[in-house]
Amino acid sequence: MLYRSRLAAHLAGIVAGTLIALPGSAQAADPAQQVATAAQHAGLAAQAASVEQVHMHLHHTVNCLVGPKGQGFDGKAGNPCQTLGNGAIPDTADQASQAKLTAALAKAQAGLKTDDLTAARKAATETQAALK
């Protein structure tokens, strides 16, 4: 009897440990938090001092919106939404919200295409506004 209870406790420990050790992508998706993080990084991009910094922060915005399997995801740039789900757009079920996020994504990608600091910042500001 004692052996059984010890075995059960041991197994429970293994299960709990496995759940804690699950990678971020397997965690429950939090699209609202992903959108908030994407907006935060668009804001950082809008205030950045150089076009390289604007691009870096906009990459973070794009990564949060599209997720690791999405088009335009750049893993080398880092993903601030790594533990929050698979991207705000794929994790959003509502079509109207998805369209709004896709429009914001287009603005962020426009900012990534330009090497002009003023234009890139403007695109970042518009991205942030579109995500609010």
Partner: protein, 108 residues
């Protein structure tokens, strides 16, 4: 004379005792001095990783003690609270006492 001799002996013992205490105090202080922890060693980083940290104004020691990597939601602590951790922004090591422009308060 006996009284003077006893006083001198007591004074010598007291002086010796004070010297021992002072010496041990110095060695304890020196023993607890820590070298600054360096987590993102430039020699271990690629040029792209160095560039990303530079663009994000990453520093191994935050100028603001209330805003350090250990309190940032993008930071995963190491095995010990004072050990190097990992940052999701940089995909690599970060100092728990460090900081970058992306610092965001940990909510949990």
């Amino acid at each position: 004379m006996d009284c003077d001799g006893a006083k001198r002996a007591a004074l010598r013992r007291l002086t010796a005792c004070l010297v021992v205490v002072a010496t041990s105090g110095i060695s304890i202080t020196q023993g607890t001095e820590k070298k600054d922890l360096v987590c993102a060693k430039p020699s271990a980083l690629s040029e792209a990783e160095k560039q990303q940290r530079k663009l994000d104004n990453y520093t191994e020691k935050s100028p603001d003690p209330s805003k350090t990597c250990s309190g940032c939601r993008f930071f995963t602590p190491g095995a010990q609270a004072t050990a190097c951790g990992k940052c999701t922004i940089f995909n690599g090591p970060a100092n728990p006492h460090g900081k970058c422009d992306d610092w965001t308060a940990r909510t949990v």
